[in-house]
């Protein structure tokens, strides 16, 4: 078995996309870890759908004494207050999201298609309907990055010609960062731009159902 990037390393690569001054919303799971890897000398304001921009780090297990119900992000985790943060109601929060004021959202996914369709809120037949704010983020954010594992736990591809799970949005994903590759959705199709150390384009292709166009300047993921 070839070595794959850890969840933290996927998050680190995705976070390299953050530019100074960006407003960024992070989904649950791997995307949330991106908050730990903001590139040095860049100030990023993290937004949570329940109504806060510029929140501080998620509290650690040994910081229980700092827990305060005023400071909870969208994934129900407690954060530290931070200078420059603002609170607002969810109407304003989703105006911000849907109106294009977020520079980047990093989301998890079950499936992504080669056209950039995203399926990230439910499996076929699920009793739960956890649509949440994913549809708003996927359509509203200026740049949508998906951070996920390249294949499912039982080895099935997640990057497909067409999604088979319920869609979050059509043609909304810009960049996919996985544990073996970085791919960009372009007008000519899905372009493989970077591979994890030790991986070849052919090996990535074998685990991808979507048609992959190998970039001329294909390189190893820089961390």
């Amino acid at each position: 078995m070839k070595e794959r990037l850890s969840e933290e390393t996927i998050a680190l690569r995705a976070a390299k996309e953050f530019q100074d001054g960006d407003c960024v919303n992070l989904g649950v799971g791997i995307p949330n870890l991106c908050a730990l890897f903001v590139p040095e000398d860049r100030t990023v304001l993290f937004e949570a759908e329940n109504g806060v921009l510029g929140y501080g780090p998620i509290l650690l297990e040994d910081e229980v004494d700092k827990v305060d119900i005023r400071y909870v992000e969208a994934g129900a985790r407690f954060f530290a207050p931070q200078e420059g943060m603002s609170f607002f109601d969810m109407g304003i929060s989703f105006d911000m999201i849907r109106g294009g004021r977020l520079d980047i959202t990093v989301l998890g996914a079950f499936q992504v298609s080669e056209k950039g369709d995203l399926a990230n809120w439910g499996r076929p037949g699920d009793v739960s309907r956890t649509i949440g704010g994913g549809m708003d983020l996927a359509i509203g954010a200026k740049k949508v990055i998906v951070a996920m594992e390249h294949i499912t736990k039982d080895g099935k591809p997640r990057i497909l010609k067409e999604c088979t799970y319920p869609l979050t949005g059509r043609a909304c994903v810009n960049l996919i960062v996985t544990d073996i590759a970085v791919m960009e959705v372009t007008d000519r199709g899905l372009v493989l731009k970077e591979v994890a150390p030790g991986w070849t384009a052919e090996e990535v292709r074998a685990l991808t159902e979507a048609k992959l166009i190998v970039a001329e300047d294909l390189k190893e993921i820089e961390l």
Binding site: I69, D89, R129, G133
Partner: protein, 266 residues
């Protein structure tokens, strides 16, 4: 002018069978727990509950009173994040009596942003709005579509609850409201959209005691105010105490706090 009501029970006593009620719920912060409980005790049936999220926390009512205690009185739920009791039962290994009841519930789903925008459309008196969010997904089913400037949109209709339950931090006697932190949630949107808005608050003060520059919900959107007894259910102090009790459960901590700094730093 007197908007102050003596008790939660009296403040919800005129809610009839079949009413629609909007309630903020997104985890611990900002839930109008006393009004939810009073509505349960009021006993009316055939309710439609409008809430951004549903379920999601396997906690007893004493820790956090959620809209889901109204389940047996409801015919319909309008929400964005429906974490079914059946799923929770699976995730946490907690048996659930509510899973069966949920199966009988009519549920209307939409994204959080759509729910907020529909409430706001009602608040503003709009007849509806077109949005690109949801195009090509299950939420577009049965909705009018229109192409505007080359982009596809779907028509969403306003949503005006008969009653709105709001949890604010402080009210003055006119009904001007301020909130704390993310306890704001969708409470101000609910206040604006609902035909009758009832607010439960930590403190009621005289007009003029809240700086007019910081008022979030102006008095026009608030019909009734009930003070939460000091330290009582849902008060800030009570909620903090219960959150800390909740956090003392070992399996809870990794879910709502962070454990990974060590690995991450390597």
């Amino acid at each position: 002018m007197n908007k102050i009501w003596p008790s939660f029970d009296e403040a919800v006593a005129d809610i009839p069978n079949g009413a629609s009620v909007a309630i903020h719920f997104w985890g611990f912060p900002g839930v109008p727990q006393n009004l939810i409980r009073a509505l349960r005790d009021h006993g009316v049936k055939e309710l439609t509950v409008i809430s951004p999220t549903w379920g999601g926390l396997p906690v007893p009512e004493e820790v956090l009173t959620m809209p889901s205690i109204l389940l047996s009185q409801m015919k319909k739920l309008i929400c964005s994040y429906f974490a079914s009791a059946a799923r929770l039962a699976d995730m946490y290994g907690i048996p659930s009596e509510t899973a069966e009841l949920e199966k009988k519930l009519e549920v209307e789903y939409m994204s959080h942003g759509c729910l907020m925008a529909r409430l706001h459309a009602a608040a503003a008196g709009h007849g509806g709005f077109y949005t690109p969010v949801g195009v090509g997904t299950i939420v577009e089913e049965g909705k009018e579509k229109r192409v505007i400037d080359g982009r596809e949109y779907i028509l969403e209709m306003p949503l005006s609850p008969d009653f709105g339950f709001v949890r604010a931090h402080k009210a003055d006697k006119y009904g001007n409201l301020v909130y704390i932190g993310v306890c704001r949630g969708c409470n101000p949107v609910v206040a604006m959209a609902s035909k009758v808005t009832i607010a439960e608050v930590d403190e009621i003060v005289e007009p003029g005691e809240i700086d007019p520059e910081v008022i979030v919900t102006p008095a026009a959107f608030v019909d009734r105010i009930v003070q939460i007894p000091k330290g009582g259910l849902g008060s800030y102090e009570y909620a903090m105490e219960k959150v800390h009790e909740f956090l003392s459960i070992e399996w809870v901590r990794p879910i709502i706090l962070r454990t990974k700094r060590k690995e991450a730093e390597q």
